[in-house]
Symmetry: D2
Subunit: 441 residues, 4 copies
């Protein structure tokens, strides 16, 4: 069976690479994945999957950090102009860009796979040393770039869809493929969970190209140590005044924000485990000689456990409120993303190892049981949902040679990881439908 | 004689208003006044003035805060596209946009008048309530607006040129009209002084529409209390790092800048007189979850005397260097503007009063001897140059009803101030050539 | 008459110097001037003055910054041990250490003179170069020193009392001598005003040895530019925690106080005139490895006008509240002193000049009409009270060669200023009872 | 054999308690343990141990945080007055208060035991609820208290000395008892290591009463997770100035220290493991209305590994230097203590378990293999020295009911832990001389 899958996957390779490059060329950031999602939906339908999208896939009320109506409309128009299906896109109005495809194959467990689709807010490198530019598939959308490999994730997910559709008669249970928007900024998973995308799931698998597995041929079977996190913006509003004649009439939002930034970083370390806090962006002021009436900061807290993150975020709220009070300005704090801590199930990871070992795609010496993520991923929200209902989940790292680090303008990965990745996911599904993971393992 | 001037000025009124509106529609910011300056140069030549421009009017080495070569080129192209003379503009390459026109009329004192030409970095209001929009002369150049009245200053200056050319036979001495770029940010005066624009000047007059004289018909004969000032930018450069996994590898430029901003404001008050320090703009960071490797602040110091400003700026340097050291980042401080303190000569102001009183244009009850500026103006550099060589100078406020405060997107002034202003300057010139100001007055 | 006074004063000189040295040896700080006040009261009674003390001289409810009951008791005991009258001291229980002496001499104006009595919190220099040590009259009270010359003020005031008692038959009106506690920290004047010490006063004079008149023989007839001021302490209370194991359980009062200190200094300069803010003392923490649960700051604001000071103090309250909120700690702000802005009356100062010019004590070239104080003095509260009721007041500087600056451990003054000072005050009283100051002068 | 030791220890119990109470009454802080050390030296000599003290036990050049010569002399005098041996104390001049006792019993391993002797800087509670006060053995030395149990450690160590002397004929090897000064502040271990106190040691044991074992009868056989740490003071020196008249002449040390405190806490978390930084104390300023010319902070960094602590301390140096530079003040940073990270050897801990299990003193259910310290202890320096030369070491927790937490003014422990603790150490020595720990265990 595994041999068959490997063969099928190898045959798909060129198609996967082509798909990835098309997506790379037209990257879309969080809540604007209109073209991507419409193509995913069309491909899943074509492969025989039952498709849910729009409000059936994403709960509007749970969405954080959504662009303005005008921006969303502009992105919908761009998506259509770049070849997206207008009708499908219309059903995603408001940024409801998640897609769920389901293949029901009789009695058996529900196995869900999750793939994230969004790109980064970044200008792609445009010179001959950067392969996507040299070979003509660099981003044409200004300020957006697939610099994390989610273009590969989507291609791989659609490859899995095809592989499993071809093996349909060997399946006993339900395959659910979840294509998630807005992983960057940890925004997309929550609203899909709230829309029921994980209901009834017995096994959940997800994964990432590269990252902690930076060599083609590697595979990490279970990732742990997801950091719980909260992303938030704070807008400070004061009063402008002339810096020469009437300073006392102003209310300085820049200084409130500077104090907030400084004191957020001074929130004490947590004694129970790792904690983090970062103000990544601060923009304030209108002109050199005007008391700055406006400031915006973009920040995040993290914690080894959700309790630690909650503690950090609670302190962050205090710091922001206090900094605003010090300068007599208003501060509006908006949560724009959220995820929890999490740990893959070792029993399920062991089954991934078994599947990987049965393939020629992977170097047996490079199959690793567990690795620490030391970062945040809203896959953890899905994991918590599944584990909370008694299911199991694991998050893989699929090795790939990298041209540069993730979120770098020169990021690129070795596309030879795509077919093996698709094959491994498909093999795991088949295996889990054949034989359940024993409890306690 | 005064009557004659008033009559001539009244006849010019429509032309002055038309000129002002044309300039208002095509505003140009500091060092990019290519179209404006080329029109000034052409008009002065046409009126019989000997014209100096480019390197003869502005010393390149003294220029601060100059835009990049690319930006300058783009602005030169725009200036030509909007009707500027290509040859004249070519001679201003590098941003040398100052113009000096001279009318020599035999023996007698050198009387210089200074007019500033630059616009503000601001988007103009565009709705029916704003007259320039309603009447079709709002700015067509995005992000730039004449929100301080310098369009009126240029129109008035060219009116003075015409008036004096018409009275040429009554003049005994030399008229020198100085059209200065980059007053906003106090950048333009220094390089014109260094190029010799004030050499040999016996009397210097300048002035401003509105400001401390916000009613049409008012005139302030001498302005004092110019604050000495230094404008500076600081660019901080650190090292980016992932905010979850490797914070210790980063060097946080945002926190260095936040500390600089906070501690710049904490520089102690000066015991000898008024001091000021403001950080008006702070922009830092690349993304929420990245240790910010970059930050920029725009700041200024001021002082009631130049000694106080120097003391403030010296402390500012220390604060910036210390903040950078605290965070192990580089800080590059660039001076982008500079002016000194200053005081108009009461004797010369008294002559302005005499000339104003002789006209019907002004309300005798609204002719004011002296007012405090409580701000900075690089006219003070020219004043210091002239006074340092034994000459006299004064700075007028020419009353005008204002639609909104200076530097506001809804700024507009009452154009009926233009002809009287031009007449007053011309009358002063005639008067000064007739009868010197007695020393000690 | 003046000659007579000069002669009488010269005869008193040795007594004044002896008195000053006795007081210098036993200095007493604010609200603990038990020995000093009891000696003043005794001397005034002996000279025939009607004396008010305790609750009749100081309003208890208006007192700020009063030491604890235990401290007051200890100081009362010390005062008795150092020769103070036990009965008089008992009537000052609670720190009511002000004394008013009145000499009624028929119809005529009420002329009040104010002398301050308190010493500084400072260890006096104890080496042979310091004259008070060398000649045996250095402070014997640890941590307290007459480093501002108030010992001289008291001696001078008692000299005035004697002079006027001797000239009693030439007086027409009421002499009121006010001996005030707690000038340092601007605490004593308010409660004496509230107790009615200035009721009915037509003319008020006060003065200072040295300061802006640092040479023996000088006299400044009117001092102006008193800065309005508020003195305040802030106690921050947080929660201690172990710095290794449980930082998140702490609430860091040290960091709240550090933020308060920093941001108090960053309160914007006031556009309408001079402003000041200083945190002079910060003490926080219990041990190196404990999250600091406690912090105390001692601070002050000042303003060229009382409106400016009020604005500064209002901002200070906000900064303190915000800093506490940022760190989740409590902050208790206590006002411990207060004074207003003020200006001497030129008409009254002119009379001081006349009196001084009539004496041989002063160098005519060194009699100065007016000087800026550039500091705070709660004499301004008395001045405001008198001026508010239509009276006149002035504050003198009585020149004296100084060994070191005021508030310095090596401060000492030239005692030859004492007799002339007493003579000048007495002469002014006589003069004012003879001839009123004409309004408008 | 174990039975014998238990019996002997039980017989010593009253003596150990008496010794502990005597030490509790006369506590001595770091580098001033003159009385304690002289009594230890006398007792060891009496029991037949060869004693090294003064320069033979402590390397003077390695000592950090040593009190001034005057303070040391005063403490030596107090120690003699409280019964210390004058000659022994004389040999400890300079604070060389470590003692090493050695009992050589033929061929065999060198087994070292370490006991710390110093008390805390704390006033002991003095009311009837506090047993040491009620029963008459509370501290008579103001500001010093045995609030961590080191009095018990010394008593226990001298108990071990007696027990082993009595079993001398069963010993094969060398017993070395190390009595260390200055554990609080991690000052004493380094200079004893540098003086050779650990030379040749095969097995090292140490331990603590209470702490992570807060119940009598408990024992933790191996403690790990010692945090590496650096303790440091920073003295800032600026320039005083009058806060009303001449702020610009001052150099504000308080603000430099406040900035240092704030930014020390903002040093980024280390991605490789736990880090800590705390400013526990800040004292600054002289008076409310004086620009503060002086400030002192007491701070510490910690790290899960020594590399992390080094990284934190390096950043701390930068912050301090930068804060000083910002305000133009001098900063002198002095290291006053230092320790490293460390981990007990599990093989040696297993032997402690075996010895404890063989005794009736301990509750078998309360014998714990390993616990995290989550704090710093300079035993880790000795551990590193021994492990670096191929030896083994472990750090025990000896359970004791506690009246209040360590470093609390009401701290007291259950003295019934003393005899069992002494017995356990002695039994371990005997056991280790009988049978070596096998490598790799």
């Amino acid at each position: 069976m595994t041999e068959n899958i490997e063969r099928l996957a190898a045959a798909l390779e060129d198609g996967l690479i082509g798909r990835r490059r098309d997506l790379h060329r037209c990257p879309e950031a969080a809540w604007t994945e209109f073209r991507t999602a419409s193509m995913v939906a069309a491909a899943l339908s074509a492969a025989g999957y039952e498709v849910r999208l729009g409000q059936e896939a994403v709960r509007r009320e749970s969405m954080l950090g959504v662009p303005s109506e005008d921006e969303l409309t502009a992105h919908m128009e761009r998506a259509v102009a770049q070849g997206g299906d207008p009708d499908l896109i219309a059903s995603m109005r408001g940024g409801l860009t998640g897609v769920v495809g389901e293949l029901r194959c009789g009695e058996g467990p529900v196995v869900a796979l999750r793939f994230d689709m969004d790109a980064n807010d970044l200008d792609e490198a445009c010179d001959e040393e950067h392969r996507p530019f040299r070979e003509g598939f660099a981003s044409v959308n200004a300020g957006v770039m697939h610099a994390c490999g989610h273009d590969g994730h989507v291609a791989m997910g659609l490859g899995v869809a095809e592989l499993l559709a071809e093996c349909k008669d060997q399946l006993h249970g339900t395959v659910r493929l979840i294509f998630q928007p807005g992983e960057e900024g940890v925004r997309g998973a929550g609203p899909m969970v709230d829309a029921g995308a994980l209901d009834g799931v017995d096994y959940l698998l997800g994964g990432h190209i590269g990252f902690r597995a930076p060599r083609t041929g590697q595979v990490v079977c279970g990732t742990g140590g997801f950091l719980s996190t909260t992303k938030f913006d704070v807008a400070f509003t004061g009063v402008a005044a002339h810096a020469g004649a009437a300073l006392e009439q102003g209310r300085n939002a820049l200084l409130a924000a500077a104090n907030a930034a400084l004191n957020l970083h001074a929130i004490p370390r947590h004694g129970q485990g790792a904690s983090r806090v970062t103000v990544g962006v601060l923009n304030a002021g209108q002109g050199r000689n005007v008391v700055p009436p406006n400031a915006l900061i973009k920040a995040e807290t993290r914690g080894e456990t959700s309790a630690i993150n909650d503690c950090m975020f609670e302190r962050a709220r205090e710091v922001v409120a206090g900094a605003a009070k010090m300068y007599g300005v208003d501060a509006v704090l908006t949560e724009v993303g959220r995820s929890v801590s999490g740990e893959s199930d070792p029993g399920l990871a062991a089954r991934v190892r078994r599947a990987a070992e049965a393939m020629n795609f992977f170097d047996p010496a490079e199959i690793i049981d567990r690795m620490e993520l030391r970062g945040s991923e809203d896959f953890a929200l899905m994991l918590a949902e599944v584990q909370g209902r008694g299911g199991l989940g694991t998050y893989l790292m699929l090795g790939s040679d990298l041209a540069a680090g993730h979120h770098n303008a020169r990021f690129d990965f070795d596309e030879r990881c795509l077919a093996p990745g698709a094959a491994l996911f498909a093999a795991c599904v088949l295996d889990l439908m054949e034989q359940p993971v024993e409890s306690g393992s």
